[in-house]
C-alpha cells in the first residue's frame, strides 16, 4: 500500500508547529500504525532529517504511552484500540492520513507528536489512593467483597491513563479519567474512609487543569478501554454527597 501522511511537526514547546506531508510506499497491511511511522523515521534518519518524535512504549495497548489524533480521532478509527494496536489493514491503499498530537490546553506539545500529560499524575496525587502504609494491612481475605462490586471496580480500574478522553473532548475535560479512579476507590470498602476528602480534592485539582464537562460523551467513544460514562455519574454523586457531609473524615 501507499500512504500519504500529513504529520504535525513542532520543534519544541515554544515554537509554532505545522503539518508536513510525507509519502510512504511499501506499507504492508500487517504492519502496525507505529511500525509504519518507524519505517518513515528510518528513512528520514537515513537522509539526515529529524525523525518524527512520538510517544510509545509497550506497544501492546496497556501502558497508555502512545497517543496520536489520527484523522481527528484519538487513537484512530477502531473501537477499543490504542494507536499501538491499530494496524494498517484498517486503511485503504492511497489514503491520506492526518496525524496530530493530543490537542488539549492541559497537554502542551513538547515536540512533534509528544505532549506533556503531567496533570493526570497531579490528579492522582490529590487523592487517587488509599492511605495505607506498607506492613499495616490485615489479611487479604478479611473483608469479603461481592463479585459484582469487585468486577465493577475493576471496570473502572482498567483505565490506562492515556489521555484520549481529554484529547477528544471539545472542552478538554478530564472527567472520565478522574471519575474512573474516584469510582474504583469509592466502590471498594477499603476506599470508603477517605471518600469525602478524596473526591473533593481530586475534583478541585481536575478543575485547576482541565475544562468542564458538557456531557458530549466523546470521551467514552474513543476510550481504548471502554471506560463507561456511568462512572462520571458515580463521581458526581460522590461529589454531591461530599458537599452534604460536614465532617470530611466521614
Amino acid at each position: 500500500m501507499q500512504m500519504r501522511l500529513r504529520v504535525w511537526r513542532q520543534k519544541n514547546r515554544d515554537t509554532q508547529g505545522s503539518l508536513v506531508d510525507y509519502a510512504v510506499d511499501d506499507v504492508s497491511s500487517e504492519m502496525s500504525f507505529l511500525e509504519m511511522l518507524d519505517v518513515l523515521n528510518e528513512r528520514l534518519a537515513g537522509e539526515g532529517d529529524d525523525p518524527i518524535a512520538f510517544d510509545h512504549d509497550c506497544r501492546e495497548g496497556i501502558c497508555g504511552t502512545c497517543s496520536l489524533m489520527i484523522n481527528g480521532q484519538a487513537h484512530g478509527p477502531n473501537r477499543a484500540t490504542t494507536t499501538c494496536q491499530l494496524h494498517m489493514r484498517s486503511f485503504e491503499d492511497g489514503d491520506t492520513i492526518r496525524i496530530e498530537p493530543w490537542r488539549a490546553a492541559a497537554f502542551p506539545v513538547l515536540k512533534d507528536l509528544v505532549v506533556d500529560r503531567a496533570p493526570l499524575d497531579a490528579i492522582v496525587q490529590a487523592g487517587g489512593y488509599i492511605s495505607v502504609n506498607t506492613g499495616s494491612a490485615p489479611d487479604a481475605n478479611l473483608i469479603p467483597i461481592g463479585k459484582p462490586v469487585a468486577d465493577r471496580a475493576m471496570d473502572a480500574a482498567a483505565c490506562i491513563g492515556c489521555g484520549a478522553c481529554v484529547a477528544q473532548c471539545p472542552n478538554g475535560a478530564g472527567q472520565l479519567f478522574t471519575a474512573a479512579k474516584v469510582s474504583q476507590l469509592a466502590l471498594l470498602p477499603q476506599g470508603k474512609p477517605e471518600r469525602t476528602k478524596r473526591v473533593r480534592s481530586m475534583v478541585a485539582t481536575m478543575e485547576d487543569y482541565f475544562g468542564s464537562c458538557s456531557n458530549f460523551g466523546e470521551c467514552e467513544a474513543v476510550c481504548p478501554k471502554e471506560i463507561s460514562l456511568d462512572f462520571i455519574a458515580v463521581m458526581n454523586r460522590e461529589y454531591v454527597r461530599a458537599a452534604l457531609v460536614s465532617d470530611p473524615g466521614d
Binding site: 520543534k11 519544541n12 504492508s28 500487517e30 504492519m31 502496525s32 507505529l34 518507524d38 528510518e42 528520514l44 534518519a45 537515513g46 539526515g48 532529517d49 529529524d50 518524535a53 510517544d55 512504549d57 509497550c58 506497544r59 501492546e60 495497548g61 496497556i62 501502558c63 497508555g64 484500540t81 494496536q85 494496524h87 489493514r89 513538547l110 515536540k111 503531567a118 493526570l120 499524575d121 492522582v124 496525587q125 487517587g128 489512593y129 488509599i130 495505607v132 502504609n133 506498607t134 499495616s136 494491612a137 487479604a140 481475605n141 473483608i143 469479603p144 467483597i145 461481592g146 463479585k147 469487585a150 475493576m154 480500574a157 482498567a158 490506562i160 491513563g161 474504583q184 471498594l188 477499603q190
Partner: protein, 638 residues
C-alpha cells in the same frame, strides 16, 4: 576474591526473621537525614520508593517514561503467586519455595527464595488494602487459579491485567508520598552513569530527555530497579524503552553481573509477520490450558489448517510429554516449538510458528465457555493478526520475555559495590535458570515493599553522620564529563546507519547464537563477531539532531551501545557454562531424549562477572550454591 552472599546462619524457616532482628536500625528522627535515589518506577522501584518514604527517608525516584505509571511491569498479564493456601489444596510457604527452586533448575539461593515465599503472603494483604481489584468469588473471597503448571491454585489475578493493577497500586502509594513531599519524582529522565567514589556508590548522572540537560544527583544510597535486558534481542515482549543502560553502566563501574546467559523465552507469543516488526506480543500462557499445540506432520505442508486431516497433524507436546502435554514449563514448550520449526514443520511467516488450536475445546465446552475464559485474549489476537481464533487456529512462536540474570546482590540486595542496591528483575537473585509463571510480580513487590526497606537501613546505620558527596566533587565532575563526551561522540559521528538498524543486527546475532539453544561453535562465532559489530557501530553510526532537545534517536543509540557490550558478556557466560539448565540449553549437553542435562558437580554456582576494562576479558567469580533443604533432582515432565 570470594563472594560473600551474607546468607544468615540460621535454619531456613527462621533465617529472615532472625536476620531482621540482627539488622541495625535507623531511628525515626534520623531517617529524614538520609537521601536515597531509586532508578525505575515499576513494581520494585515504586514499591521501594513509597515504602522508604513512609519510613521517613527522602527519596528521589527517576523513570524514563512520562509517568511512573507506565513502567513495563504494567504489561504482566497472568497473576501473582502467594502461599496463602486459601484453596486448602496443600500449599505452604515451603511448597512455594520448593517449586521455585526446582523450577529454577537448582540454580538459585535457598535463603533468598525462602524469604520470597514467606513475604508473598504479606504482598497480597498489602495490595488488597491498597484497593487492587483482584478477582473474587461470589462469596466475596479472593479467587485463585493454577498457573504455569503449578499443582496448587496459588495465583491471584485481576482479569488479564494483574501487572497493571499491582503497578497502579504501587504507583498510587508513590503519588501519595510525592504529594506529602517525601518523594521527588523525575519522569522523562534517564540515568546514564553511577558515581562511585572510594569503592562506594554515591550518586548518579542523569539526562533530562526533554531538555537534554545533564545533571548530578548525590545520595546516601542508590537503588537500581531498572528491569530486565531481553531487548538485547531487539524483538522481545518487553516495552520498546526497556534497556540495560543503568545496570550495564553500574557493571562497568565495578558491580558484578551474575548469570547473564539466563534469559527466558516465552512459548506463547504472536509470531513475526515481516521485516518491519518492532516488537512481539505475548499471549497469556493460560491459553495452553485449553488450546492444543500442533504442526503439520509433513514438512513444508502449506495447506490451510482446516484442510489438514487429524492423522497428518503432529501434536508434538502431547506426543513427547504425555503426562503434562500442552502444559509443560515454559522452557520446554519453547524449545519443542523451535525444534519442529527448525525441522521444517513451522507455519506463519518464514516458517516460524506453530498452531494453538481451540477447535476441540470449543467442541467440548462450547463457544461461550471459551469466550468467557479467553474472550479478551482472542480479541487482542484478532486485532493484531486479523485472524479470528474461534474460526482458525492461532499461530504462536516463542519470544524473549524475561531475564533471570542481572546484577549480583547479596542477601541484603546490595551489590558488591557498597551503597548500590539492586531490586526486581534488575538483580539476579531469586529465579535461578528459569522463572516460574506469576513469580516476577511477586519478586518485584517482595523486594520493594518488604525486603529492601529493612536491609537498606542496616547499610545507612553504618554510615550515620556522613554527608552525601557534594555534586561538585571531582567524582561527579568526571562522571558528568564522561557522559557528555559519549553523547558528543554519538552526535558528531559522520556515519550513515541508524541506531535502530544496528539494534536489529545485534538482535539477530544474539538470537541466532545465544537464544533458545546454544552451541560452543555458535557462541564462539558470536564472540568473534560482536567486537567487530561494536567497532562498526561506533564508526558508522549516524544520530540526527542535537543533544539539547528531545532526541529519541540519541536515546536509542546510547542504549544500543550498551546492549552491544552486554551481548558479549551473555555469550561468554553461556560458553563458560558447559551444561544445560533451565532456559540455558547447550545442545552438547542433553539426555538421550533431548532434555536439558545439568552438571551439578561442576556448575552449581552463580557466575558473577567483573568488568576488567575496555577490550579486556571479564573476570569470573563463582558463588557456590549450597542446597541443604531440597534434593537436587532431574526435572521430568514426561
Amino acid at each position: 576474591m570470594t563472594l560473600d552472599a551474607k546468607i544468615p546462619a540460621a535454619p531456613l524457616a527462621e533465617m529472615w526473621t532472625q536476620h531482621k532482628f540482627d539488622l541495625k536500625l535507623v531511628n525515626p528522627a534520623n531517617k529524614r537525614r538520609f537521601e536515597i535515589i531509586v532508578v525505575g518506577s515499576g513494581l520494585a522501584g515504586a514499591s521501594a520508593s513509597s515504602t522508604m518514604a513512609e519510613l521517613g527517608y527522602n527519596v528521589k525516584c527517576f523513570c524514563y517514561q512520562d509517568s511512573a505509571r507506565r513502567a513495563h511491569s504494567i504489561s504482566a498479564q497472568g497473576g501473582i503467586n502467594a502461599a496463602k493456601n486459601y484453596q486448602n489444596d496443600g500449599d505452604s510457604v515451603f511448597r512455594l519455595f520448593y517449586d521455585t527452586v526446582k523450577g529454577g533448575d537448582f540454580r538459585s539461593r535457598e535463603g533468598n527464595v525462602h524469604r520470597l515465599a514467606e513475604v508473598s503472603v504479606n504482598i497480597m494483604d498489602q495490595c488488597v488494602a491498597q484497593g487492587v481489584p483482584f478477582a473474587r468469588e461470589y462469596g466475596g473471597h479472593l479467587s485463585n487459579r493454577s498457573f504455569g503448571g503449578a499443582q496448587v491454585s496459588r495465583t491471584f489475578y485481576a482479569r488479564g491485567q494483574t501487572g497493571q493493577q499491582l503497578l497502579l497500586g504501587a504507583y498510587q502509594a508513590l503519588q501519595r508520598q510525592i504529594a506529602l513531599g517525601k518523594v521527588e519524582m523525575f519522569p522523562r529522565t534517564e540515568m546514564l552513569e553511577v558515581v562511585v567514589e572510594d569503592g562506594r556508590a554515591r550518586g548518579i548522572i542523569t539526562r533530562d530527555m526533554v531538555t537534554g540537560e545533564i545533571a548530578s544527583h548525590s545520595a546516601d544510597a542508590v537503588v537500581l530497579a531498572t528491569g530486565g535486558y531481553v531487548n538485547v534481542f531487539f524483538l522481545s515482549t518487553n516495552a520498546k524503552g526497556c534497556n540495560t543502560t543503568a545496570i550495564w553502566r553500574a557493571h562497568r563501574k565495578g558491580a558484578f553481573f551474575a548469570n547473564p546467559c539466563y534469559t527466558q523465552i516465552h512459548p506463547t507469543c504472536i509470531p513475526v509477520s515481516g521485516e518491519y516488526q518492532s516488537k512481539l506480543t505475548l499471549m497469556s500462557e493460560s491459553l495452553r490450558n485449553d488450546g492444543r499445540i500442533w504442526v503439520p506432520a509433513k514438512p513444508g505442508d502449506d495447506r490451510p489448517p482446516s484442510e489438514i486431516p487429524e492423522d497428518e497433524r503432529d501434536y508434538y507436546l502431547e506426543r513427547k510429554y504425555p503426562a503434562f502435554g500442552n502444559l509443560v514449563p515454559r522452557d520446554i514448550a519453547s524449545r519443542a516449538a523451535k525444534e519442529v520449526c527448525d525441522a521444517g514443520h513451522g507455519v506463519a511467516h518464514a516458517g516460524l510458528g506453530v498452531y494453538l488450536d481451540f477447535e476441540d475445546a470449543i467442541g467440548r465446552l462450547g463457544r461461550d465457555t471459551i469466550e468467557d475464559r479467553y474472550g479478551n485474549l482472542f480479541e487482542m489476537y484478532e486485532r493484531i493478526t486479523g485472524d479470528d481464533p474461534y474460526e482458525v487456529p492461532m499461530k504462536i512462536y516463542p519470544a524473549p520475555h524475561y531475564s533471570m540474570g542481572g546484577l549480583w546482590v547479596d542477601y541484603n540486595l546490595m551489590s558488591n559495590l557498597p551503597g548500590l542496591f539492586v531490586i526486581g528483575e534488575a538483580n539476579f537473585s531469586d529465579h535461578g535458570a528459569n522463572r516460574l509463571g506469576a513469580s516476577a510480580l511477586m519478586q518485584g513487590l517482595a523486594d520493594g515493599y518488604f525486603v529492601l526497606p529493612y536491609t537498606i537501613g542496616d547499610y545507612l546505620a553504618r554510615h550515620m553522620g556522613e554527608e552525601p558527596l557534594p555534586t561538585d566533587h571531582e567524582a561527579f565532575r568526571e562522571a558528568e564529563s564522561g557522559v557528555q563526551a559519549r553523547i558528543e561522540k554519538l552526535l558528531s559521528n559522520d556515519g550513515s546507519r541508524t541506531p535502530e538498524s544496528f539494534h536489529r543486527e545485534l538482535g539477530r546475532l544474539a538470537w541466532d547464537h545465544c537464544g533458545m539453544s546454544r552451541t560452543r561453535e555458535g557462541l564462539l562465532e558470536a564472540l568473534a563477531k560482536l567486537p567487530e559489530l561494536k567497532e562498526r557501530f561506533w564508526r558508522e553510526i549516524k544520530v540526527v539532531g542535537d543533544g539539547a532537545e528531545l532526541n529519541q534517536s540519541l536515546e536509542v543509540a546510547g542504549r544500543v551501545a550498551d546492549f552491544l557490550e552486554l551481548a558479549e558478556l551473555m555469550c561468554r557466560d553461556a560458553l563458560e557454562r558447559e551444561e544445560s539448565c533451565g532456559t540455558h540449553f547447550r545442545t552438547e549437553y542433553q539426555s538421550a531424549e533431548g532434555e536439558a542435562l545439568r552438571n551439578d558437580e561442576q556448575f552449581t554456582y552463580v557466575a558473577a562477572w567483573e568488568w576488567a576494562g575496555e577490550g579486556e576479558e571479564p573476570r569470573l567469580h563463582k558463588e557456590q550454591l549450597e542446597f541443604e533443604n531440597v534434593e537436587l533432582s532431574q526435572r521430568s515432565y514426561k
